[in-house]
Subunit: 320 residues, 2 copies
Amino acid sequence: MIRLLSIVSFAALAIAAPVTAQETEKPEFPSPNAIVDAAPASAWVKIAPSDLLIMDLAPDAEGNPRRVVIQLMPDPFSQGWIRNIRKLAQAHWWDGTSINRVQDNYVVQWGDATEKKALPEGLETVPESGYETEATTGKQGDIVLWHPKNQLTDSYSDWTWFESGWPLAQEIGNDTRTLSRWPVHCYGAVGVGRNYSPDTGSGAELYTVIGHAPRHLDRNIAVVGRIIEGIEHLSSLPRGKGQLGFYEDAGKRVPITSIRLASALPTANQPRFEYLDTEGATFAQYADARANRRDPFFIKPAGGADICNIPVPVRRVSGK
Amino acid sequence: MIRLLSIVSFAALAIAAPVTAQETEKPEFPSPNAIVDAAPASAWVKIAPSDLLIMDLAPDAEGNPRRVVIQLMPDPFSQGWIRNIRKLAQAHWWDGTSINRVQDNYVVQWGDATEKKALPEGLETVPESGYETEATTGKQGDIVLWHPKNQLTDSYSDWTWFESGWPLAQEIGNDTRTLSRWPVHCYGAVGVGRNYSPDTGSGAELYTVIGHAPRHLDRNIAVVGRIIEGIEHLSSLPRGKGQLGFYEDAGKRVPITSIRLASALPTANQPRFEYLDTEGATFAQYADARANRRDPFFIKPAGGADICNIPVPVRRVSGK
């Protein structure tokens, strides 16, 4: 019995595509990308420049610039580490550090390869409790109804969902009242490297996911953001040949020219990004289409999707 | 209620690590890799050279050789396409073709960029029914008991499991009697490119997954194998700047020197590989450890895993 009940039909939860009795031909179903392209301006939410981290790498072998843009997570998630990251960027701490580790189907990691560079004053030591965030205490019914369109089955939590543009997981405590939530490790997620517990990392050593979502890292490492542009400058780097994909040859490390908050750049140079409002109707339609591909190439819609296979659309915009 | 029942505890299904009443100290839990490293010889299954496809690419910019090894799926999965692939390799059809598409967090694709090269005689036209394989017809109880240790929750099927070294998904038909199974798109899976339905592709155009598992492709494209060595030669290639990640600049395409079945090479040159027997006790222990990381780095075991986050261990062996 568990086997059958374990499948929640996403289609039943999401907005069904309209089919009228008059239609005798197969209705046309737009692709997820087409849905996003047709989204009204009101479906997009601006990302504040103070939540963007701009990482410039040394140019590639052909002299092309390499810029990676990271969006930091909003309150209340991982804020202790994020405060440290803002301080590190303000101190220009990463300038002259490097990409040191590229492990296939896992992570790219950057920071101070010497592990000797002094950290700025005033960084917080964040406790392990910071990996999870206690949320609304209430009846279970509240949770089920909270986001009826975005619920997904999950192998790593009681429940996954999207909130304020981010993929999250949550779990009911044994007391059936306490609810904890945490950000998840999807492709492009940015996390805080650390040593063995109780160390949780300062934020000076960061990594991003370049393979299948390593969700076993959830609640074991702090997720602080995600790459929204330029991940190919990291994911296409040669894999390191040392243990865990670290470069054995220091010459393979890619120098980091600078990491800055976008808000620290002159206004004219600040890149502008928006994400698709995860609380809106367009996102629900997009998520449904991701879970039930009915655009012409597809024969059999999956009927579901895991949270990391529904990436939140983010776009670069021009102007103010 | 569905929410709570939707979580099947992997720990409850897998072999629990032994803890005796005498133990007062925290027991030591080996990492998944340590479990694999300690596996007895009997836990490994040889892969026949006739099931290995050896793809040699032109050397990289530094003159290093680039070899990719693909393991083909066993009967009864995707065999029509695999027969075609064997014929294409025997005809040396791929020699002089190229890697034409690299799309970040999705696929690398290879074949004849001109789309004009004549195919060998005698290739099969495989119908869409080949995407799924009808399996044992029986009571539902049989299925639940089939592999009690390897069951996993899944967002794309009724059930995922491992059989003969491969990750598979299955679904009970509406008649509650027919069972269909299919191979899944995990990282490194190799599939058959195609045009719009009813075309299912000949096998001449192949791709591999280099990002988060695109499980929505399951049952829509034929999975014919997986890369077991050298995927980094594909996953670290520069991303294509054309639509869908195709290289706009033909000069970016990486030439394929040759693709051969290992069985067509002189015996002394045939690489030897083994996979960890997915029906054995070591694999169950490994899968449990992947789903419940208790090795020193981890604080909170996930309590579950999706099938693509439990890659089947494969190793290269020397000798006969």
